[in-house]
Point group: C2
Chain length 438, copies 2
């Protein structure tokens, strides 16, 4: 009989497969980095490691479709402020002084928070992105990351030509990595010239990697793009011939019905960030319409400076409730749909739909196990409902990424939590000095 | 030197007092049921019990201003449904068969969840409310509770006249209880005749207890009240001479600016329930305007059938973000204001502002201690920001209610958690049978 590396037994498996199967008291076997077998008889296989999931939900690891991991070091630094005051007095002065070590420290702290709250894959945009890739690898997380590109000089690479070569070197370095993938990431249409955008697009197409940008996040972005180019953001992308299945657009708050159709027809993927859009008073992305238009939509937390947490369970709750309110229809964005956005929908949005996002034989073993034996998850009538409306990140018990047990009984197996936090506190003391000297 | 019952030392005390003092590394002493002393030298007092709050926030216990505790047994039973389908196929068939033991079991489960997430006081409306009072007393929680009154026969008391006498008997029974207070609670303007409302009002005034009802929660309520009486809900209450400082109005979603002024001038208190209002697609209460109009506003979770949790930290996060969105102003409902709604604002809304809601000498010792030594609360620049945007109920470490240590290191000291949950599971099996027989 074949031997398994990990056997998970007795759990309620939320597969998120094409039939949305929920398998009660079912076993699942992992060999190497992949899901080897599910269902009857699996519990009889010999296994190096057995995880008892009795009373637990076993589900695909959550996929944080858009974040800026290292901004965990700015969590709570400045809230409830007008955008320009926040940027000019806090974020910009600090970002100007950042270095590689700062980003590595913040990204590792974010990885720890994400693992502890059930996220197994994240998509990141920031400065010094090589450090984010390193942090993810050291944390054992799957990620799609890219260096932010814009018209001004970067604290990392200086002028934009270096940004392109930095990005291409990232693509080269991490090409065969089992966990880290690289994207080309121009910041937005109001911080990137048409030339920059076109060049970024060409690099992405040439290397067959995703192109990621912020799209139609705020009204002021719409006004700025209209003023400069006489177009909406989507029209601008269309003119630049950038719409296609390689494009992942974060936020997508201010879109017309027609633009939704254009994005869907082009195969563009969207990532919804409800908490950030609320906290920054940006608006409400038309997600129910996106779904009706068969646009692929993932879910993301955005960075800790505008959320202020990376807990995808909270994000699911917010997404489900926000759109019932915006449509005044309580049947919109039901719990199963929302779990889909945070799992297989997120995987498809990142171009990883064949790899992760559901529990199916042959897929990579990115799995989290959630302890339902808690007062706030008692009684249990419907697991999807609990996952969206009642579960917190702190209910996640075990996490497996790429077949490797990363967290067991809420204990991180390969990281020194105290050290990660102490280093973050040290960086925060620098941040306080930088801000007070503005 | 005076002896203390409990000494809390080294914490960051968020007082919520008139000066909004935040006291770093400060000690606090409790004697009997009250806060005896705060600040310099307190740590030298002899004490029966010493709690080390180093790296923790010490704050007033959270006040859940509106809930239906026993509905914890319906958590996730039916979500994302049109209102009438939810009521007719799930809630009503179950509520018709409920009994005292069912409500006690559900209320105790709710108390456990609330204690574990930092709530020390709750305000409840439901059937068999004597059982909710008993559950709160057994759990050691402070509460303001009342039997729901409406025009139809009740599964508890039968016809409404018995409802009035049941309520008066509750008032009598619990008059001198240190933890349990009673209110008169007609359900709403569309389920209670003018005669019922007036009688309820008279009882409340006669006994000097609060009068609590749901007000202007949904558009359909407005239409129904308009159809029957040719008035808005607030006009209807005004006509019935029910507006006054004794009235606590839950929800208050659909109010005109003029009505806000009328409520404020009358001294009426409001309780905001953002998550429930979103999940049921009811709308957005004009809370920033309420606050500008100097209306006292507390915060509540509503019941678990429409939330689906009792975590006031999640509710604070939602309240802060929802109103930034509704006003498109990121400076609205700053974190400190929101913490105020969940503490002193909630206390004032329940008529307990002199008793609880802030950490001040002489007030009752209702205090929770929150562990900040977590990755998702690292680094720490501003405690209010963390409490609203990043803390989860599961970060609450210790809870003291009326001077009594109720939870220590997340362990409930006076309840058998496994037994409470097992009994709830048992009741859930009955619920499943009831629902499947509809």
């Amino acid at each position: 009989m074949e031997s398994l590396d990990i056997l998970i037994q007795k759990g309620t498996i939320i597969t998120m497969d094409a039939e949305s199967r929920v398998l009660e008291g079912c076993a699942l076997g992992i060999r190497g980095d992949s899901i080897h077998c599910i269902g009857g008889g699996v519990e009889k296989y010999p296994a190096k490691k057995v995880i008892d999931a009795d009373g637990c939900v076993v589900m695909p690891g959550l996929i944080n479709g858009h974040t800026h991991a290292a901004m965990s070091l700015f969590r709570g630094l400045a809230d409830d402020l007008p955008l320009m005051e926040w940027l000019n007095n806090y974020i910009f002065p600090v970002e100007r002084r950042m270095d590689r070590d700062f980003v590595y420290t913040g990204a590792l702290l974010a990885c720890v928070e994400m693992i502890l709250s059930g996220t197994t894959t994240f998509c990141d945009m920031y400065l010094f992105e090589e450090e984010v890739a390193r942090a993810a690898r050291d944390a054992g997380m799957r990620c799609l990351v890219g260096e932010v590109l814009y018209d001004f000089d970067s604290p990392n690479y200086g002028p934009i030509q270096n940004g392109f070569s930095y990005t291409e070197s990232l693509i080269e370095t991490w090409r065969d990595d089992p966990l880290v993938s690289i994207a080309v990431e121009p910041h937005s249409l109001f911080t990137c010239s048409p030339e920059l955008l076109s060049e970024a697009n060409e690099i992405a197409l040439r290397h067959e990697v995703p192109l990621i940008l912020h799209l139609a996040e705020t009204k002021s972005e719409l006004e700025e793009v209209e003023k400069r180019y006489g177009r909406t953001p989507v029209e601008h992308l269309q003119t630049l011939e950038m719409l296609g299945p390689h494009l992942i657009a974060a936020h997508c708050v201010h879109l017309t019905d027609n633009e939704l159709g254009v994005l869907a027809d082009s195969g563009v993927k969207a990532v919804h960030n409800p908490e950030s859009n609320m906290k920054l008073a940006s608006g409400i992305a038309p997600v129910p319409k996106m779904i009706s238009a068969t646009l692929t939509v993932g879910l993301g937390t955005d960075g800790c400076a505008s959320n202020n947490n990376l807990d995808m369970f909270g994000e699911m709750d917010m997404a489900a409730k926000l759109h019932k309110l915006s449509t005044l229809d309580p049947t919109v964005m039901d719990a199963q749909t929302v779990v889909g956005m945070a799992t297989l929908g997120g995987a498809k949005a990142l171009g990883m739909g064949g790899l992760i996002g559901s529990i199916e034989e042959g897929k990579k073993a990115d799995i989290v196990i959630i302890d339902l034996n808690k007062p706030h998850l008692t009684p249990m009538y419907n697991p999807y409902s609990h996952l969206v409306y009642a579960t917190r990140g702190s209910d996640v018990l075990h996490s497996i990424i790429n077949g490797r047990l990363i967290m067991e009984g809420r204990k991180l197996l390969h990281l020194d939590l105290a050290e990660v936090m102490a280093k973050a506190q040290e960086k925060a003391r620098e941040v306080k000095r930088w801000v007070s000297s503005v």
